[in-house]
Symmetry: C2
Subunit: 125 residues, 2 copies
DNA sequence: ATGTAAATTAGCTAATTTCCTAATAACTAT
DNA sequence: ATAGTTATTAGGAAATTAGCTAATTTACAT
């Protein structure tokens, strides 16, 4: 279960447009490029990418993109793995699964409570 | 459908602890109090509350809480309705429903893509 | 009318965030 | 060993955010 602190970190991470776009493209494989595939003998998730490849998609400096990626990592919505001198970035689907479940629960509970309140036929013990 | 701009507003709104707690309690009815119910002849959602009642739960000034509520409203995750000299605050479940659907879609698509990639039996035309 | 309650606006400060460049570290390739 | 690539760290400037008090607006109650 995600505690409040981690939820706050996730929302903060996703509240910045650059980070949001990095997140989106890491999840959909939008940044995978030949550069990454060329690295021989490296086994990674086929949609993984690396910091400098991500940076190519933005008009921001590499250190700026590196810092954004660090924040996404600390929110645990992506994960990184160093192989050679590259840092490979992958989606962390488990955290997103948990967040998705939180929202679903919120919606379901809300609907149930509304039904409880407005439905005359509910029997109360 | 929520566009990126609105998603960014929602994540920003929920990234601050005070706003997160206001949001949480507006959705779960945590702030409803006798003060609100005493107001005769006013028909509101039974879990609605008002700005000053929310403010009672925090060690921040009323203007500060009012500004936080404004931000939650502009992210369309709560809605407000003025009745008399009070502003009643209610959950905006539709936006949360949409956001929940977005995360579900993300998870589902991710799982499908992974299956597509790793399942040998997939026939490619 | 006058006073009280609820909320917002205005104007300000302190803290945080977001960006940069320069320097450093770690690894690869020649 | 030396040069090149990838990434992070450090330090600083500009912009934004989060808080405050004081003033104002709007509605209710006497």
């Amino acid at each position: 279960m995600l505690d409040m602190e981690q939820k706050l970190k996730i929302f903060k991470a996703l509240s910045n447009e650059t980070r949001f776009l990095i997140f989106k493209n890491v999840f959909t494989g939008g940044y995978t490029c030949s550069l990454d595939k060329k690295q021989a003998g490296v086994e990674v998730n086929p949609i993984a990418t690396c910091v400098s490849t991500v940076a190519e998609h933005f008009n921001f400096s590499l250190p700026t993109i590196s810092a954004h990626i660090k924040e996404l990592k600390e929110a645990k919505i992506i994960s990184v793995e160093k192989k050679g001198n590259k840092v490979y970035i992958e989606p962390n689907i488990e955290t997103i699964r948990e967040l998705s479940a939180c929202f679903q629960t919120l919606v379901t509970n809300f609907d149930n409570n509304r039904e409880l309140f407005f439905n005359d036929t509910v029997a109360v013990k």
